[in-house]
């Protein structure tokens, strides 16, 4: 009997998730022993044709990382969905939209204009932009279309499991493989991480007093953080209480507050709204002026609370943007 086939694919992502696969270190050998990696563009050459040629459901599991922004990414998502028994959103971008989804605050036209015309580091005197289709000396090359909206994987195709994180940890990845290979699978749609917030595993938990009343918020670059004290007790926005655990509290151990990459728990529909609710309720001031003064320390609530989750948030995208490239 041949080894089960496993695929890795990447869409709008930074490559960090691939690093995690590499970070499995020698364990990757154990994985390779048990499975057959049939597709891994970062490491191996392949052609779309090869995948298309595969029988439907012939891949046991595809771990797809990155958000979905272009038509090519959509097509591959659809294709891999069809070829795979289990499609796994791997990492924050595929699960929640991730950092790329912060682009959902801007109209496509503005993004293109900046990147191809206005960016100070740019040398593009002809202001040439990529074309979807081009007639050139009888050639007719195509490029993927840049979509208006950044999407999570499950906003494009059906997803079976999610492995969270920016990037996911090797341990969770291994756990996912173990579950896949053993057939001991959680219910469909599960996030492969504990369903408890980060504080649960944070070393600083004990240092959080029970009577926090915020009088100011400071950002990490404004203050040298106490290496042991709960960040919230220091007035620093930490997304930990609203974020799943499972990362081993990597950031807080490294003296940085949690930024929320593991996404919310299963009981929460909108991670940003929840941390907002919790932080604000605990502000000390009672009058509008005082409250707003305290809140000056959070100059960009969208960027702060939805750093990874904007595409998956209830609003998904800046709502006054239309679909013809224009907007506010």
């Amino acid at each position: 009997m041949s080894k089960p086939k496993v695929a890795f694919y990447w869409c709008a992502s930074c490559g960090g998730c691939e690093e995690t696969v590499v970070d499995l270190a020698e364990d990757i050998l154990g994985v390779v022993e048990k499975v057959d990696i049939c597709l891994w563009p970062v490491a191996m050459d392949f052609k779309y044709k090869d995948i298309e040629a595969m029988a439907d459901k012939s891949i046991v599991a595809t771990l797809l990382n990155g958000a979905i922004r272009t038509s090519e990414q959509e097509e591959l998502a659809v294709l891999l969905r069809r070829k795979s028994q289990y499609l796994i959103a791997y990492g924050a971008c595929a699960q929640l939209g991730g950092i790329p989804a912060l682009a959902n605050q801007f109209p496509r036209e503005q993004i293109l204009r900046f990147n191809y015309e206005e960016c100070p580091a740019l040398d593009n005197p002809g202001k040439v932009r990529p074309q979807v289709s081009l007639q050139d000396n009888g050639r007719n090359p195509h490029l993927p279309e840049f979509r208006n909206v950044v999407r999570t994987l499950d906003q494009v195709v059906d997803v079976d499991y999610y492995i969270p994180g920016c990037p996911p940890t090797p341990a969770l990845t291994r756990a996912a493989f173990d579950a896949l290979l053993s057939g001991n699978l959680p219910p469909k749609g599960s996030v492969i991480a504990p369903d408890v917030a980060l504080c649960d595993e944070c070393d600083r938990k004990a240092t959080k007093p029970t009577n926090v009343a915020f009088t100011e918020f400071v950002r990490p670059h404004q203050k040298l953080a106490d290496p042991e004290l709960c960040f919230l007790a220091q007035g620093m926005v930490c997304m930990g209480p609203a974020t799943r655990s499972g990362c081993g509290a990597a950031c807080t151990s490294g003296n940085m507050p949690c930024t929320g990459c593991f996404g919310p728990t299963s009981r929460v529909r909108d991670q940003g709204a929840k941390i907002l609710s919790s932080l604000c309720a605990n502000i000390e001031a009672k009058d509008e002026a005082g409250i707003n003064e305290t809140l000056r320390g959070i100059p960009d609530p969208v960027g702060t609370f939805y750093r990874y989750g904007l595409a998956k948030s209830l609003l998904r995208r800046r709502v006054d943007l239309n679909m013809t490239g224009g907007g506010h």
């Binding site: 369903d195 408890v196 917030a197 980060l198 504080c199 649960d200 938990k205 959080k208 007093p209 029970t210 009577n211 926090v212 009343a213 919230l232 930990g240 209480p241 609203a242 655990s245 919310p264 728990t265 009981r267 929460v268 529909r269 929840k274 941390i275 609710s277 919790s278 309720a281 605990n282």
Partner: protein, 674 residues
Amino acid sequence: MAKQEQEVRIGFYVCHCGTNIAAMVDCPEVAQFVGTLPGVVLSKDYKYMCSDPGQELIQQDIREHRLNRVVVASCSPLLHEPTFRSATEKGGLNQFYFHMVNIREHDSWVHTDRAEATSKAKALAQAAVHRVAHHKPLETKRVSINPTTLVVGAGIAGIHAAMTIANSGKKVILVEREPTIGGHMAKFDKTFPTLDCAACILTPKMSDVGSHENIQVLSYSEVTKVDGFVGNYTVTVKRKPRYIDEEACIGCQDCIPACVFKQPKFADEFNEGLGKRRPVYIPFPQATPQIVAIDPNTCLNFKKGEDGGRVVSDKCKKTCVEACGDKNAIDFTQVERIEEYEVGSVIVATGFQTFDARRAPAYGYGRFPNVYTSLEIERLVNASGPTGGHVVMRDGKSEPRSVGIIHCVGSRDKKTNVWCSRVCCMYSMKLAHLLKEHTGAEIYNFYIDVRTPGKGYEEFYNKLLDEGVHFIRGRVGEVTDWAMTPDEEGKLVIRVEDTLAGYVRRIPVDMVVLATGLEPQQDAQDVRRMFNMSCGSEGFFLERHPKLAPVNTFNDGIYIAGACQGPKDIPDTVAQAGAAAAEVLALIDKGFVEQEPNTAFILEDECSGCKSCIPLCPYTAILFDEGKGRAYINEALCKGCGTCVGSCPSGSIVQNLFDDEEIFSEIEGVLAYE
């Protein structure tokens, strides 16, 4: 989260409420629409759902159609939710499988377009249908009732309520902020319409209260803080120093004439400033308790030095202490004390204050000495008043030969108080009668409308007409002291339109009496906050329902009686005090209350122990288990506001009756209908 173990089978009922709903909402159409929604097994419209047959219908359907959820669209849940919950329970279901839709107060009564109102009813009904599918069976919790009752305010309302409860063998703590109980009624001379003497009917009751074994009177004291909930309140009472040891004082009053002030010198509050008293005084002869008080603002012993420090004047010879002798009741070192009492229920009977006549400047109160308020006249005609019942004007000798009584001062006026004070017509006529009786003067009543709805009241009006008292229908424009004609010289001139005769008239009188209206006590808002009650827009305490729960408030275990709820006369006040006492006794006899199970609880396995919720609870019901590293809620302390639930960043707190799923589905449902 909670698994739906069985198929959801919803019964939906839309009530016509006679025509209250049906006139503006097409009830059959709503029923028809809801019948098409998933999970709805049957959908009916009915004339009166709250009636017996309506409730019976629900019970029968639950049994016959195996319903496991019930939704009724009718009036406000604040009115009939208990009714339908009970019907649901009688039908054999847990009562919390019921949900109510408000399509009367929030729909048919406030809208004018039938199609729109019907659409809204459908949307609201759909929301309830979505929501009720997520309802879970809940149990109410029983809390025992502390059988001691706090009565706040010892006017006639507080006195009557306290006596009623105490007579049934239950303990009462009666708090009064003045040095004596009795309230306004103690100041009145006669009471309308029977003209029996107020003191004769009130003072025996006062001394009964003072000596009742079940009543503890805390006079010269104020409630400052209330904690807890129905059945179990902790009340903090501030005992103001009266500089008299209440245990030691026997009420002999020997100290009063012994005071270095040979003559009474200071304005006497009880006599509305018309009389004088000494720094050591007893408000009036029948005061209860019979204990003197020392007023630190006038007593030389408390004289303040230039720097504000206490400088005992050498003029104070402490003659009062000397007169007290061995009793040693006078204690200048007394300070304010704070005491705590545990009670199960509270009757708030804090009464009213009279309108400040200076706020109606056209009538010259405070400018012209012979313009009086009605309360001043009560004292002036009172045999135990400052003049011994001899009606003389402020010069202390002349009797008025003509008196104008102006009704509605500070009532029915958008610039001051808009409401009718209910008692002024009657007390004005009573004073008219008494003034006439005492002086034989010509009496003119100036009124907008004479309102005498009460037993024997119209007859009293007839009696006054017989006595030749003038009744002039017209609201007085002004009271002045400038004369147009010789007979106006030296008089107060009332300018008024006699609206029935159709002439503007100028009427010179010696004395003007302003029938000032009743308004909420100055500190009514503070009292309201303390007891967690509501106020109407005019500032009187709001009853739970004007007809069906007139002495209840929105806070269980807190009742109101008397004029703090709205202007009323003595018979109505006493009736209401009795009603409040009956409510309290019913509560005590039942022994327990069932609490709405809307408390919150923390999902232990899912709490991360972030402690965000802990400081948010105003009742310190959330605690942290250091061992488990999790927070937990002490259900007994939780009052069910849900603030922690809305704030839990990982969604690990659940509020019964208002859990996230229920609310999300309600939101979705209310918007699902276009």
